[in-house]
Amino acid sequence: MRILKIFVLLIFAAALVLPFTYTSSVEGQAATEAPTTEMDARQSDATLYNGFITRDNGGLGNAVNECTNPALAGRSFRDNKAIFEEREGVADGLGPTYNDVACSACHQAPVTGHVSQINEFRAADGNGNPPPGGQTLIQDRAIDPDAQERINTGLSTHEFRSTRTVLGDGFVEAIGNATLQNNVAAQPSGQRGQLRTVTVLESTAADRTRIGRFGHTSQHASLESFAADAYSNEMGITSPLQPNENNILGQSSAPFDTVADPEDDGDDVAAFTDFMRALRAPGRGPINADVIAGQNLFNAINCDVCHTPQFTTVPAGTVINAGAFTVPNSLANKIIHPFSDFALHNIGTSDGIGGEPGVNDRFSTTTIALWGVRTKHRFMMQGNAHTIFDSIQLHAGQASTARNNFNFGLNNTQKNQVIAFVLSL
């Protein structure tokens, strides 16, 4: 009888503990690899979709045909993709100054959301200070000849900035602040990057800040803020998060602007945001023995310090973007391989445009994510290196040690393996 009582008590104790074990297994669910795309434009656009459910409760959706089945409210991934690819006109608020007419004009190749050959042009004075009006971005186009920006005001510093991919950015958004901070804190002091704390435009919280990760200087922490910024700066279309029209080198653009602000009521920005959140990460190319050896060497010579090979996104239900977005299952607990730390480093390749708030060094730029780099043929921020080898040689400043390790620590076979690895990304 006594044994029976003890047995029952033990079972009871086990029953008390078991549910808590079960509970913690939900939050600490084993992370899984994020879905990737082969970036093959010949494949269905379903191969770009990561399963994210849009704010309109839409899934993949039906193919969009502008004549018979245009993008509608209750938007699906495919509706949002069509809006991302849509060409805007003057009646939509395009301009007065702008760079191109659609998001996909720059983020197009090989698949919508990735990259293109397009660089944007920035200018500043000899100290990197912005021109009159405070905007270093010099838009390449205008809706009226008299609105065209020309840098004739002593702007002696020029810089090109190549298009960065938005593939996989939904996962990047879902990396926790602490994860990014811990990664940078573990970097050797000579290579340590600077993370920026920036404002999440759509947040209504008292503290609207988060660690930045999007853009050439990590100037945005959320895809919604990033989308609104790009809509305004690249296409000249204002929205509730970016309600003010760009000036023309300090002059008002009002005489050329016929559409009342905000030109987008926020619907387009929401569509761009949900589209980017729903994109898979760039997938790897063929992996052979040289590529595997190259990856080991890439890590051994410290390239991986800044080109961080792996992050895991936050658990499902985590509220990010200063309270503005709850991470769903499709983006949560995912292992991604962006090969960036999303921190700013001075590696001697920037022209020093724009000392932005909170940045210690105007020559610092955010580590370019190497995922998907095999689709490009111009490399580095300015697109001025034509080979991976040249790109490595251009690394200076905080990347000098890694470059020297490559140059003087590897034989030719090993150098070829490192290059083979980079071109497998």
């Binding site: 002593g154 988060r210 200076a396 030719n412």
Partner: protein, 265 residues
């Protein structure tokens, strides 16, 4: 009897507790959890490393041939010699504007070591700045970069070096020791740009020297001023590469017009 009651009630309690706790556990799991806000950046954890100490030229010794030779050997081994037929054959400055002293040195290839210069993976960036410049026809004829025509560079290279090449190597400095630091190995090797009266023009003097001249390129550091194919101009660091500028023939890439010198550091 007591045993039966105990058994039944124990099992009932067990089942009830299990169900209640499972239910609670599920509820708790879907409670939103706020992301940790950005931690204030502790200076020792996330700040950039201290900026390089600005180079005070008066505190660095003048470049001595033995130091220059040691630097050349560090990068090129014995594949080149310093071309002492030029005066000066080397000089220093902060050509890329990173506040670390750089070395410019004129070199000649060693015939027997061309295979080293033409290796697949050199530890330098080789370029021909004059090839990027549109010169008038009369000058283009005299431009050795154009006259050389097509060549067959080694795999991984953009240039095939020949024994009679005139090379200007610019070794970028690293930290306070500049080009003398063993880590200072980033080197640009420029062919066909060794002209007459070659010298360093300090950044601070650029505005005065080229006052009123436009269009004018972006300037980040000290210049290498000289006369090439009969035209005075300079080599300057531009977006990671060195480019040639002469006021008569310069055509900006995008057509931006620069109205005056404000190229201050």
């Amino acid at each position: 009897m007591w045993t039966k009651t105990f058994r039944t009630s124990s099992l009932f309690a067990l089942l009830t507790a299990f169900l209640v706790l499972i239910g609670c556990a599920k509820t708790r799991a879907v409670q939103p959890v706020a992301e940790e806000p950005p931690a204030p950046p502790p200076a020792t954890a996330v700040a950039l490393p201290a900026p390089q100490q600005p180079v005070d030229p008066t505190k660095l010794p003048a470049p001595a041939l033995e130091h220059v030779q040691a630097t050349v050997n560090r990068i090129f081994q014995d594949s080149v010699t310093i071309d002492s037929s030029h005066n000066p054959s080397y000089f220093v400055g902060d050509f890329n504007g990173d506040q670390s002293q750089d070395l410019a040195v004129i070199l000649k290839p060693v015939s027997a070591k061309l295979s080293f210069l033409n290796q697949e993976f050199p530890t330098w960036i080789a370029r021909e700045p004059l090839k990027q410049v549109l010169l008038p026809k009369s000058k283009a004829v005299a431009n050795p970069s154009i006259a050389r025509g097509n060549e067959d560079p080694a795999s991984g290279q953009t240039i095939r070096f020949a024994a009679n090449d005139a090379l200007l190597a610019i070794v970028h400095g690293y930290g306070g020791k500049g080009w003398r630091d063993p880590e200072a190995t980033q080197t640009h090797v420029l062919r066909d740009v060794v002209g007459d009266d070659i010298r360093m023009l300090p950044f601070a003097s650029v505005a005065k020297a080229y006052k009123g001249i436009k269009p004018f390129p972006s300037i980040y550091g000290d210049l290498i001023q000289e006369t090439l194919i009969g035209q005075a101009g300079f080599l300057h660091f531009a977006g990671g590469m060195y480019e040639w500028y002469d006021p008569k023939n310069y055509k900006p890439v995008l057509g931006p017009v620069h109205s005056g010198m404000s190229a201050m550091r």
